[in-house]
């Protein structure tokens, strides 16, 4: 038997929807087998990681709060990924966004709507500025944006370390490297009393629909899609590749910065060395699992948030480390990427014939 690929006349829309679901299911099945093999109760682990957070209502708020930054960052990254511009430094832009928001919040001290707005705007500006550097380097010096945006993430980590350990260190903080907490009236309003669900969650729920409208209907969305699908055709159609690079990098950075600002002002209220949680990297998975579609990002963000919350849960129930969720997330990404082939090709099995081989 030989595997044979035949190109489909049109990409299968069914496969576009089915394959992400298959990727998640396949990941769960393989998870069970692998965990059993290394002596962990696989079924329990997979149930805890993938299902318990959905079934137990008291975990929903955790899922919502964790999904918000993932969805926001993934929305921005999907724009760039569609245009084949690879910003993988969203983690750094997220950190800088949060730091900018913290800078505004901590230096003002007082609360109110305007201050909250100023913090969020500072976060967006910070993330945008951090992403502007790789965009500029790419256009001015032809530097690969994958490497430069990632390098800047490591730089952002050091900036954070310097600020919370030095100038911004809380004098009343028992010498821990962390900023002072926000004043109670500076944090984002809580939407559902008695939970941690803050205003940022609502933002993350609304923006996917805004992005959807823009990407599907506007000339800008068309431009992003053309540049990604056929750069030469984009040039022929009169679209400027330079401003596509700018736009997609800055949108990615701005959304990451927004996520950072909302995470800081909505839930953590202070910044310490543990602030960088890898949302910027996980959002890349969200973006692909959501098939670079804004609504897909919303759903995929929730799925990934479930694995985060579930990973925490499994840590106590079956004693596996946090990083296990990372393995599952990477497996989902592998499978979703590999499944693209089923969207564009039909897989057939043919029997290989045995005939005498020439010249041997």
């Amino acid at each position: 038997m030989r595997l044979k690929l035949e190109k489909r006349r049109e990409p299968s829309m069914a496969m576009v929807v089915v394959t992400p679901i298959l990727a998640v299911v396949l990941t769960m099945l393989i998870g069970i087998v692998v965990f059993d093999a290394i002596g962990i109760d696989g079924q329990r682990a997979v149930v805890d990681i993938f299902l318990t957070p959905l079934l137990a209502s008291y975990k929903w708020q955790d899922v919502a709060v964790k999904a918000a930054p993932l969805v926001l960052i993934a929305l921005g990254l999907s724009v760039g990924n569609r245009a084949q511009i690879w910003n993988i430094g969203a983690e750094g832009q997220y950190i800088i966004g949060a730091l900018c928001a913290a800078g505004v919040g901590l230096s003002v001290g007082s609360g109110g709507f305007l201050i909250m707005l100023a913090m969020v705007i500072a976060g967006v500006v910070g993330g945008t500025a951090w992403a502007a550097v790789p965009a500029w380097l790419r256009l001015r010096f032809n530097v690969n944006e994958i490497l430069s945006s990632l390098m800047l993430t490591y730089v952002a980590l050091q900036v954070l370390g310097y600020l919370v350990g030095g100038p911004w260190k809380d004098p009343n903080g028992r010498n821990f490297p962390a900023t002072a907490p926000l004043a109670p009236d500076q944090g984002l309003p809580i939407l559902v009393p008695g939970t941690t669900i803050h205003l940022g969650v609502l933002v993350a729920l609304i923006l996917p629909f805004v992005f959807w409208a823009i990407m599907a209907r506007s000339v800008f969305g068309y431009q992003i899609r053309v540049v990604g699908a056929a750069p030469h055709a984009a040039r022929h159609g009169g679209f400027d590749s330079r401003n596509t690079v700018w736009a997609s990098m800055l949108i990615g950075g701005g959304m990451a910065g927004l996520a950072g600002a909302l995470e800081f002002s909505g839930i953590l209220h202070k910044i310490d060395l543990g602030f960088p949680s890898g949302y910027g990297f996980t959002a890349i998975i969200v973006s692909f699992l959501g098939r670079l579609h804004p609504i897909g990002c919303l759903i995929a963000g929730i799925v990934l948030a479930v694995t985060f919350v579930g990973g925490q849960l499994a840590k106590t129930t079956v004693h596996i480390p946090d990083s296990t969720a990372g393995i599952f997330q990477a497996m989902m990404l592998f499978f979703i990427l590999a499944s693209d082939i089923f969207v564009r090709y039909r897989v057939r099995f043919t029997s290989s014939r045995a005939k005498p081989v020439a010249g041997e």
């Binding site: 056929a230 030469h232 159609g237």
Partner: protein
Amino acid sequence: MSKDNAMPNPPPRLELKGITKHFPGVLANDHVSMAVQPGEIHALLGENGAGKSTLVKMIYGIMQPDAGEIRWNGKPVVVPNPKAARRLGIGMVFQHFSLFEALTVMENIALGMDARIPAREPDARIRAVMTQYGLLLDPGRIVSTLSVGERQRIEIVRALLLNPELLIMDEPTSVLTPQEVDQLFVVLRQLASEGRSILYISHKLHEIKALCDTATILRGGKLVDRCDPRVESSRSMAEKMIGGNLKDIQRGKLGNFGAEKLVVKGLSVPAEGPFGVALKDISFSVRAGEIFGIAGVAGNGQNALLLALSGEATAKSHQAISVDGAPVGHMRARARRGQGMASVPEERNGHAAVPVFSLADNAVLTARDRLGMVRSGLIDHRAARTYAGEVIEAFSVKATGPGALAESLSGGNLQKYIMGREILQKPQVLVVSQPTWGVDAGAAAAIHQALVDLAADGSAIVVISQDLDELLALCDTLAVINEGRLSRPMKVSEARIEEIGLLMGGIHGETTHAA
């Protein structure tokens, strides 16, 4: 030339019996049977899409037939891959060269040989082969610095080093000047006289008449005829190839041109990228109703010229290009379309059209402004679908509708759609490159007719093509591009083919002679 008659009935060198190959939706080869004798130059004649390339790919082991038998010197064989083909003694020179730009001539030749040979030996053998056939090359040169003719020589040398009994040549002359073609024919005749067989794939009838002993004609995957091209007329072979009577282009009165529509004056553009060609001081003008042809061998600046005219590359001077008297040299593609200047680049997939987009979405690419498909930053998808439908209708594009993906169309149908997309916008100036490249005869005729009709309506048209026959049939005026310079324009009715050939070769052709 000379057939081997020493033995009473020598087995054919290559014999195909009932070769069949399916692709999704297409029967590329339908029970094709043919034979090539030792020492014979055998033409495989057919339109683009007739199944010639598929057939030779199976002989050379790149593809496997679904059914049928290949016999080599009388024995049935399976050719699993090109390596096995070369072991049998089959060499192939591809239409699109399988060369490695960044590697040297020597490395390229070594890659074409299967066994490791001590470092000095191939050098001597290569030189021997090159002098024997007059195919001169510097082994240390990087391929990207060579002309197209020189590159083809690498391919031929590479094939000859294996001492093949059968040499397959796939459309070898499509990129050569008339003089280079003559040189190639000398080499091929010499090879045949040594008893080697040559399978010569082409759709150029006069070449086949001049060179080949036998011709096998394919149409739509089927073998339609076998004939002796030396006694057959070009027209009769063409009709067998196309499967109907040839239709001539319908033209109105000639010579009644209007005012100057497109004026290009001293246009210079630096080379784009390490392998690009710079345009040097190009000047010409096209009047209303005139079709202006630009001939030339591939890689002499045709791409750069199209980009410069379409606005994908801008000129330094505003005045370098003007449309209806308005300078547009500084404008980008979108602004030039606003001035009534449309273009169709050579590459359909990924340049003129987005393969993974629907035809309606592809209409948005170039027609969005002139046809009001955008309102306050939003795309009117209904307007795009309507326009795509009109183009499909007017140019009889075979597609399931405006929602069909561009990549699902055949080359000819996609080309008709792209031409229609520009022509129905009624541009004042239309620049097209290789309008019928890889297009079947019916579609080519329709495209030519559409260009003629657009000119009759008072537009100025520039056709850039490597197909001299096409230009001579279609254009009123002709100029030749060579190494980024454009020759003096001449009236087609007064042009001499030898002069055009020399211009196509330019000084460039002379140096490769002497090398």
